[in-house]
Symmetry: C2
Subunit: 353 residues, 2 copies
Amino acid sequence: MSTGLDSGATVTNKQVILRDHVSGFPKESDFDFTTTTVQLRVPEGSNSVLVKNLYLSCDPYMRSRMGKPDPSSASPAQSFAPGKPIIGFGVSRVIESAHPDYNKGDLLWGFVGWEEYSVITPIPNVHFKIQDTDVPLSYYTGILGMPGMTAYAGFYEICSPKKGETVYVSAASGAVGQLVGQFAKMMGCYVVGSAGSKEKVDLLKNKFGFDDAFNYKEEQDLTAALKRCFPKGIDIYFENVGGKMLDAVLLNMNPHGRIAVCGMISQYNLKDHEGVHNLSSIIYKRIRIQGFAVFDFYEKYSKFLEFVIPCIKEGKIAYVEDVAEGLEKGPEALVGLFHGKNVGKQVVVVAHE
Amino acid sequence: MSTGLDSGATVTNKQVILRDHVSGFPKESDFDFTTTTVQLRVPEGSNSVLVKNLYLSCDPYMRSRMGKPDPSSASPAQSFAPGKPIIGFGVSRVIESAHPDYNKGDLLWGFVGWEEYSVITPIPNVHFKIQDTDVPLSYYTGILGMPGMTAYAGFYEICSPKKGETVYVSAASGAVGQLVGQFAKMMGCYVVGSAGSKEKVDLLKNKFGFDDAFNYKEEQDLTAALKRCFPKGIDIYFENVGGKMLDAVLLNMNPHGRIAVCGMISQYNLKDHEGVHNLSSIIYKRIRIQGFAVFDFYEKYSKFLEFVIPCIKEGKIAYVEDVAEGLEKGPEALVGLFHGKNVGKQVVVVAHE
């Protein structure tokens, strides 16, 4: 297809730049805008592609890339470089390609810069060609991309779920949580989620079909809240939050319970992480706590799409996005994620084409 | 065989009694001695056995039975009743039996009272008939009993060990730790242990064949100590300690590392357990933390004995006991466990027959 862009032309390229490494909660002022120019051409002799970025994804893990480089960290992601565009998942259209697997006009999702145009060298399991365009393209930042695959692998591969079990999901209205809850319902589990506002709790109960939900900010005692929601205990906890929530969960877990650790967003902006005090529950309850990372599971991505795309098309799975219009809204959207301002998956639209 | 005791005779029965529920570190004064009498006869119409107790076992889990009953605890073991003999693992000779599986003169190990004679109703997987008496009988409180089976199940079933991996064992000279380290060496792992005295560290290196060992009490910085012992990181941690040690381990774990949680003895006597701060390491390192309890694995007990008894007889496995002579030394031995006073498996001899 035509991209409507002249090969070789020079166009302006707005970018979101990290000013300096972040400590504590990220602020909008940690980011700058700059406008450079880019020639619509891939470097000669490369196997790169030049892409026009359409949608950018705001994800909690990005906080780990904003801090100073930490050699002791096991995170595979390097810190963002101050003065350079930050990097994240995006959905992009190929404008020019020197890569044998990509043609002009193709769509892909994967790591790109927070800018209008990026030159990238596609890497398997980092960049994925989009085949099915009969769904909103922005979904490839969420339900059909990294967060969707995270929910799929985390729930089916890590939680060892069985019909009839009780499942608790924290940060349940987020990109991953909303899907985990729906996967669990499809399996015949009893599912409770927590979130940080009445609007989100309503969404969980009325849109995503959770059996119950609560606003953690309105609970004096998280242990008691979980006891109320799970009088017979929790079999599976899908962990997105960490800290005090994990402590409360540990006291409510059932014997042989499983905790899939997807994230701990409550801790990412703290200099010193909160202490978790109830770990001795692990022993007699024989609890399994398992951290996981989505990139270990991408070989199942096409199987996942075969499963989830029909569910979307048939209305079996609901999906809610929180869309920020324009790259200039990017920093606000990204920063808002760490204050729970987003309702559903936070996306930034760079261009509607 | 003759037990040398007249059936029906009445004999004195010295007992170790819990005065009241314990908070904080147990003290010798939490225990009392009393002497009652017992008729050497099983209750009519019962399927009980009357046993003469020979060896009693001091185990860290016993602390969980000394506190007030806690309905929120998932521990399968009930609190000890004040005014009654405490209960623990022991090795005993059957004096009288109304149970079809036990005859007068048989030996068994399992739960008995801390007293000279107990009437018990043998329960499968709680009481085990001793078949091989060609080893010291006291070993059935340790390497051939619950702690041995704990080490076996914990290492082979929970740690998923592979040849060449690095293994760290805390409380490594204890009943369980000394065996885990030796099992790991037999598998071709690099094994480091920690303990709380020079004597114990020497034992780890010179008697049990650990590749390295350190005295945790002499380390200013546990994270640095582990970094020194494991420059390439820890693949497997066998957790007996909890608290600060777990925090230091988490920073030194390798990706896809496994932590088998056997116990957390550093926490048992604290009213408020220490907070563990480095749990976010679980995520990117994809660490699995797995609690386990030996009673889930007793179906493998006979297989375990087939493996371990030849190892003992052929000298392939070393085993060290710390023996207290006489029931009257029981409270001191039990209390000492929580101060690390025992060197090796702590046993109390009630009678040599």
